[in-house]
């Protein structure tokens, strides 16, 4: 009950007219930041951080965390409308969101994305309110071996998702790993595959690749097919929100699974991006609508968005209780705490209850305010698709270029973005799947570091991956998920009886 008392105290702190105003401003800025690819939540918060020095720390963190919620909401918008993920965690949203928009169902997809985001955040914040101390303790048990097992699980839940030739999937994934290896190697501190070029030391940033592969690639395809948005004109109708809400409760299992994955990945801290991929992969595998994923099924939007927002929210927990940021944006907020003279860590809850509970209360309120704001804008966003492509197309290219430049403030990244655009176009023409490349590029680095750290710890022995209950169960789960198609096929064969077997001995 103590948590409930503290929470209501927090609501009292957060619910002043001034703080609500900061919330609205934060959400609006955040949505804008989320819509512009490249200008991620971390950059946005960092840019605005110095402006908050003259505010009280509670108001400041309320505004900055609302920017963060806004960015989480906003990331979905361009993914769905133009196949350009505004944020890394919205890549998985494009898989079904964009086909929906093409089929004239942009409003539905946006509503589903926003609502799922809200549900994910709500579940995460409830977990945060009541279980914070226990979970903080649990996350300490994650060493390099456990991290690698989690990465393995993400890969395993995603492999085979392309549906096409497995060799094409492997080729695409290997290309992603190769690109991820360029630049500085954190384990040895050496430069790899830069071929003596100073420009290459930055490596290939995930965002630059994604903006090129998806955004520019899509524009090239559209140009080839006659400079117009393909598919049906979007039906714009104010009731789209209510109609979609009627359908959403059907996917409660996917939502719950997504929220669980998200909370877990945010706390451990794997982050929102792997969480969204894992949630999408598992939903495709275990949902009865799985085969329709990728062709514009609403459940394929629900799964990644719920997980991404749950992860984004719960990533703040390790920051507050341990001083370990669960995401880049949380890292910037952590810097803010120090600047405001607050010491994050186990003592923060005891010494600064106003601040902590004010923040947690603002997570509830900020997400409600955010949901209302973004839902009212759904028809306007969907209406963008009615503007002729010859107007919107160039604007998209400009926004993509700014986004690619912002990642490292480097001109070469714009060139790389265009090259990736051509690669994306060729991949589509030759029917190579892009998702495995993107997944390998974003997780390759993390997985590699975790694996090599584990090897240093164990002195080179693989047995570290089943050295305790936690890591063994994650590893086992990963292997189970990887072989699920074979396992389920095996079960099906057993069930269907031996008669078939006798008839076809050569099978």
């Amino acid at each position: 009950m103590e948590a409930v008392d503290s929470l209501f105290h927090g609501f009292a702190v957060a619910l002043t007219a001034q703080n609500i105003m900061y919330m609205v401003v934060g959400i609006l800025l955040g949505v804008l930041i989320g819509v512009l690819p490249g200008l991620g939540g971390a950059n946005g918060v960092a840019i605005l951080l110095p402006l908050t020095f003259s505010m009280s720390p509670t108001s400041a963190i309320i505004m900055l965390s609302c920017i963060y919620w806004g960015a989480l909401f906003g990331g979905a918008i361009t993914s769905i409308l133009f196949n350009i993920p505004g944020e890394p965690w919205s890549v998985a949203t494009t898989f079904d969101g964009f086909p929906m928009a093409r089929a004239g169902r942009a409003g539905e997809a946006l509503t589903a994305a926003f609502t799922s985001s809200f549900v994910g955040a709500l579940i995460a914040v409830i977990v945060l309110t009541f279980l914070a101390p226990i979970i903080a303790e649990f996350s300490l048990r994650f060493g390099p071996a456990e991290f690698f097992a989690v990465q393995l699980l993400t890969f395993c839940s995603f492999v085979g998702l392309g549906g096409g030739s497995p060799w094409k999937t492997v080729a695409s994934m290997m290309l992603g790993f190769a690109l991820a290896a360029v630049g500085i190697d954190t384990v040895t501190g050496q430069l790899r595959m830069t071929f003596g070029s100073v420009e290459m030391i930055r490596g290939f940033d995930f965002l630059v690749a994604v903006i090129g592969l998806f955004g520019v690639g899509e524009i090239l395809l559209t140009m080839e097919e006659g400079l117009a948005f393909k598919g049906e004109r979007p039906k714009i109708n104010a009731r789209v929100v209510l109609d979609t809400w009627k359908e959403l409760p059907r996917y409660w299992i996917t939502s719950l699974r997504g929220a669980f994955i998200g909370c877990w990945m945010g706390i451990t801290p794997g982050g929102a991006t792997p969480a969204s991929f894992m949630s999408y992969g598992l939903a495709k595998r275990f949902s009865k609508n799985g085969p329709q994923f990728g062709s514009g099924h609403i459940e394929g939007v629900v799964a990644p968005e719920t997980a991404a927002h749950a992860a984004g929210t719960s990533a703040l927990l390790p920051m507050l209780t341990l001083g370990i940021p669960g995401s880049p944006t949380a890292a910037v907020l952590l810097g803010g705490l120090l600047i405001w003279g607050l010491q994050p860590g186990p003592m923060l809850f005891i010494e600064q209850p106003d601040f902590v509970w004010g923040l947690i209360a603002s997570m509830y309120l900020g997400n409600v305010v955010g949901l209302i704001i973004v839902l009212t804008t759904v028809p306007w966003w969907a209406a963008i698709l009615r503007v002729p492509f010859s107007v919107v197309g160039p604007v998209i290219v400009v926004i993509c270029s700014i986004g690619a430049y912002t990642v490292h403030n480097a001109f070469l990244d714009i060139v790389l973005m265009l090259v990736f655009g051509v690669v994306g176009y060729v991949f589509k023409k030759l029917q190579y799947p892009l998702a495995p490349l993107v997944l390998a590029l974003v997780l390759g680095d993390m997985a590699e570091s975790a694996f090599r750290q584990s090897m240093i710890l164990s002195g080179g022995s693989l047995s570290i991956f089943w050295s305790n209950g936690l890591v063994s169960s994650i590893t086992a789960l990963a292997i189970f998920v990887l072989f699920w198609p074979q396992i389920s096929a095996g079960i099906a064969r057993l069930v269907s009886g031996r008669a078939a077997k006798q008839n076809s001995p050569g099978d």
Partner: protein, 340 residues
């Protein structure tokens, strides 16, 4: 090159004199002032120690209206910071660009062979020095650095794990120095950031770390970590109690513990090469004003920084000496980039 050095030296000696002048009088009307936005480069990612300090400075400068133009912080973290340093190197003569350094000013070119050196830049001022503390989990049996090192030696090579930030950077250099002095052999495990390192130590996935005070203090206060010694010539001056029993000042120096290693990380400001001397003076004066603000003082106290300030020749000499130290430590540890 020599010509450039001479010019910079001359510029700097003027800088020292003029810098002192600014403190006493307000800057005269004809002195150099920024005429457009000042870019403040951080050769590290958003949220790290250098980034926090740069954004703190940006906030202070804005709040107290210390410069007539605006200041923007830009992260260029690629290639262990090489991206940022190369950018400043290429901006020769641009007086609207600053860079805040960490030890990667020395370690990155030495370890990777990326072509830059601090002499490509113009030193402005040392803002502070960051301390390093040897930490172990609070329930570890070792109460002193000596007990810990003895236990590591007894366990045999590679049995004790030391976590640190990055590879062939400050944390691993300190680890190598400890190894060279004591004969103990650690398995060094590199992680991406200091916060993660501290967490891995609290979770007992490793045996020790050399985290900066600001990265370890919250876990220390919560009773999860124990500081064994600080890698500085003298103890940290702060006597205010951090836990029930101890203040920063109660942590012995490693030298007192028989581990004669000093290592401090530079938090300093540089500009591109070939900038006008009065621009350097301007920034020296600016940072002196920043140091006088209450926000800065609180920030220094929270992070238990060594608040030494230097500019001009004194600073240049310090940097030159630090480079020699890094070179010799890294040569001994075998961290230098292979010559092609």
């Amino acid at each position: 090159m020599i010509d450039f050095l001479k010019k910079s030296l001359a510029a700097l000696s003027v800088a020292v004199l003029a810098g002192a002048g600014i403190l006493v009088t307000a800057s005269p009307a004809d002195a150099w002032e920024p005429t457009r936005t000042v870019e403040f480069i951080v050769p590290a990612g958003a949220g790290g120690g250098a980034d926090q300090m740069a954004r703190m400075i940006q906030g202070i400068v804005q709040k107290h209206k210390l410069i007539p133009q605006s200041m923007v912080v830009i992260n260029k973290s690629g290639g262990a910071g090489a991206d940022g340093f190369l950018d400043v190197k290429a901006s020769k003569g641009n007086p609207h660009k600053l860079i805040i350094t960490l030890s990667n000013l020395f370690t990155t070119p030495l370890a990777t062979g990326v072509p830059f050196n601090w002499t490509d830049l113009t030193p402005v001022a040392m803002l502070a020095l960051d301390e390093f503390v040897l930490w172990v989990p609070a329930d570890a049996p070792y109460k002193t650095a000596k007990e810990y090192v003895d236990a590591a030696k007894k366990a045999g090579p590679g049995k004790f794990k030391m976590a640190g930030t990055g590879s062939k950077q400050e944390d691993q250099i300190i680890t190598a120095a400890v190894e060279q002095q004591t004969g103990a052999k650690f398995a060094y495990v590199p992680f991406k950031g200091g916060g993660t390192v501290a967490k891995q130590l609290v979770g007992k996935h490793v045996n020790s770390s050399v985290n900066n005070p600001i990265e370890g203090v919250s876990h220390w206060r919560a009773g999860n970590l124990r500081p064994l010694c600080v890698f500085d010539g003298q103890r940290i001056a702060l006597k205010q109690k951090i836990t029930k029993e101890m203040s920063w000042n109660d942590i012995p120096t490693c030298k007192e513990e028989g581990l004669d290693i000093e290592y401090l990380m530079l938090r300093g400001i540089f500009m591109p090469g070939g900038v006008p001397a009065d621009a350097v003076d301007y920034y020296v004066g600016l940072f002196k004003k920043v140091r006088e603000t209450p926000e800065w003082k609180q920030f220094m106290g929270n992070g238990a920084f060594n608040t030494t300030f230097m500019s001009g020749k004194e600073y240049r000499d310090w940097v030159a000496k630090a480079e020699t130290t890094h070179k010799s430590l890294m040569t001994k540890a075998g961290f230098l980039a292979a010559k092609k």
